[in-house]
């Protein structure tokens, strides 16, 4: 990471903070060895760790494990893909990263999920604040159907009390541009979000998540309800977005993981079997189970 790039990034983000104080997260780790919250940066093999889990376990009810004892890093400004057969716990893991399990009934999360050196499961941490720093995109596009395209993108900023029109306008244009949707919708920002095609709706949801400048973006099978064309656009988008935000993506499509990700973690029956650089895991996985899954022995 070049220091100059970092500075530019901070300036760009700083303007928005200065203009309205809306952005809660700044997606940059300083070149000075500290996270934005002032904690020292952790590195593995010289690469900055943005998020990390330690012994993360999710239980449904008393005994059923969603995931068990998962410890893995998420590297800064990279794409980490979570793969594995259905029911292996990859979505459960993803949802544990921004405390979405808080909302479920009878779900218990133990262990730690560490963002910028701070465990988000500490009792004094507010889950609402965490979700503003860690955005999420879901399997099915979920625009708010009664709201316009513009208001959909603004939704997150409005939640933090941003009202100034010029700031909102700017943020909407930037988020939509980042989500590669601006050219298609700039003339009809006032039409309802539900009027877009499935692929556009999904990019709208990505724009909505980006508008609050999250540090990490979680994507739960974001292309599984889309046609191949729309899927390709989202994949290209993910490649561009990793320049500014750390991405964790769940996919059931191994080719997709190979195409978009820098790191791949293989989940099986609630355990994280292995995590490596994507090239490595697809060419020479360490674990036999990974090998078998990737070669199609089971799925």
């Amino acid at each position: 990471m070049s220091i100059r790039a970092t500075e530019q990034r901070e300036t760009a983000a700083g303007e928005i903070v200065g203009a309205g104080g809306a952005a809660t997260g700044v997606a940059a780790t300083g070149g000075n060895g500290f996270y934005p919250n002032g904690r020292p940066v952790k590195k593995i093999d010289g690469t900055t760790v943005r998020m990390e889990t330690e012994g993360l376990t999710v239980r449904y009810g008393v005994s059923t494990f969603g995931i068990q004892d998962v410890s893995m890093p998420v590297f800064d400004r990279s794409v980490t893909a979570l793969i594995g057969p259905s029911g292996c716990g990859k979505s459960t893991f993803l949802r544990a990263l921004n405390r979405m399990h808080d909302l479920g009934v009878d779900i218990e999360v133990t262990g730690a999920a560490i963002l910028d050196g701070e465990n988000i499961y500490e009792p004094q941490v507010d889950a609402v604040t965490i979700r503003r720093r860690i955005g999420m995109v879901f399997q099915k596009p979920t625009p708010f159907p009664t709201k316009s395209i513009y208001e959909n993108v603004c939704a997150g900023l409005r939640l933090v009390g941003m009202r100034r029109k010029n700031v909102l306008d700017e943020a909407v244009e930037k988020a939509l541009t980042d989500a590669a949707l601006w050219d298609e919708v700039k003339d009809r920002l006032r039409s309802p979000g539900g009027s877009l095609s499935g692929g556009q709706q999904q990019r709208l949801c990505i724009a909505r998540a980006l508008a609050v400048e999250p540090e990490v973006l979680l994507m739960d099978e974001p292309t599984s309800s889309l046609d191949p064309n729309a899927t390709m656009r989202i994949e290209q988008l993910i490649q561009q977005l990793k320049e500014q935000v750390t991405i964790v993506i769940v996919t059931h499509n191994m080719q997709q993981a190979a195409r978009v990700s820098d790191y791949t973690a293989f989940f099986y029956v609630g355990e994280m079997v292995e995590i490596s650089r994507t090239q490595q895991i697809f060419s020479s996985p360490r674990e036999e189970r990974t090998q078998e899954y990737l070669s199609g022995t089971f799925s």
Partner: protein, 320 residues
């Protein structure tokens, strides 16, 4: 052989389907014919009144005097509209609160208890609520509230007296409160359903943006559920307009407009139930039928409006 059979269109595959289809079509037609038949009969029976007073004049005439053979429906229309809308105004906010609380905030077991209780409230026969109103609620209200308020107004706020009127035990306000109590379960149940139908993904999308509980309600759930809630409110209104027994027991049944808050009044259903036995004159009888005919029109319009809102404006069907 078997394959060929499967390839044939369904209607060639034996008589079972055809018999079943005939039977259900028959039953459905009977229902439709019954509804149309009822409306037609009521209209025909009401015709002497329409001929004597005219469709519009019957609606705007304020006198209802069977002895003088003058019949006007305005007092009952005013009574029905006032009690229904006032009851709706009283019921909607608490009902929405209960619906939101049980669907979004309460632990499941508390929600269950509340839901069962609300459903139970809906199951109490109207006449039983009326009985309770006559013997407990109405005298208590008169003693504790109406009389002191009237006395105070008489001393200190004379301009209020013509509005509130001399307190009688059975009056407009009592009937309205009971009516509100009776429609609350409907409003709760219907808005609960509407809120329950908001997809999980919509809530999660708002949660994931960092919304608090109330913000999730306000930004994602209520906008999505609004058509269902509005339809539910309209259906509750239709129910209030048509509610008969408890209102007739508690409203005091006075045909004389203007009504006062603490004085007796009447509604369209209450005049029907109170007078149908005494209606020996043709004109009296047909006027009661005419009131029934207009009541039928009003409630059916409200119901149609509710289904229009539910279907045409619903989000899942694409229109906005």
């Amino acid at each position: 052989m078997v394959e060929t059979n499967n390839l044939l269109p369904a209607r060639y595959r034996g008589p079972g389907d055809r018999v079943f289809k005939t039977v259900i079509v028959l039953f459905s037609s009977v229902i439709i014919l019954l509804a149309i038949g009822t409306a037609l009969v009521i209209y025909l029976e009401a015709r002497p009144t329409f001929r004597a007073f005219g469709y519009w004049n019957f609606l705007t005439e304020t006198t209802w005097d069977p002895v003088a053979a003058v019949h006007g429906a305005l007092p009952f229309i005013i009574g029905t509209l006032l009690t229904s809308f006032a009851a709706l105004a009283l019921a909607v906010v608490p009902a929405l609160g209960v619906a939101i609380f049980t669907t979004e905030y309460a632990p499941w077991w508390i929600a269950q208890i509340i839901n069962y209780t609300v459903d139970l409230l809906a199951a109490i026969p109207s006449v039983v609520i009326g009985l309770w109103g006559i013997f407990n609620f109405a005298p208590m209200m008169r003693e504790r509230f109406y009389t002191p308020i009237y006395n105070w107004a008489y001393e200190d706020a004379e301009w209020l007296v013509p509005i509130i009127g001399a307190p009688s035990t059975y009056n407009f306000v009592t009937a309205t409160i009971i009516l509100a109590l009776m429609i609350v379960p409907y409003t709760v149940a219907l808005s609960r359903d509407a809120i329950g139908q908001v997809p999980r993904e919509q809530r999660e999308a708002a949660w994931a943006l960092g919304a608090t509980r109330w913000e999730v309600m306000r930004k994602a759930v209520l906008p999505y559920a609004r058509t269902g809630i509005v339809a539910g409110i309209l259906l509750s209104l239709a129910r209030a307009l048509g509610e008969t027994m408890a209102v007739a027991m508690l409203i005091g049944n006075s045909n004389r407009v203007p009504f006062t808050l603490f004085g007796p009044a009447a509604t369209m259903p209450s005049v029907i139930i109170n007078e149908f036995r005494e209606a020996v004159e043709t004109l009296h009888y047909s006027s009661i039928m005419a009131v029934g005919f207009y009541l039928f029109i009003v409630t059916i319009s409200i119901n149609l409006l509710a289904s229009y809102v539910q279907q045409k404006l619903s989000i899942t069907k694409g229109g906005l």
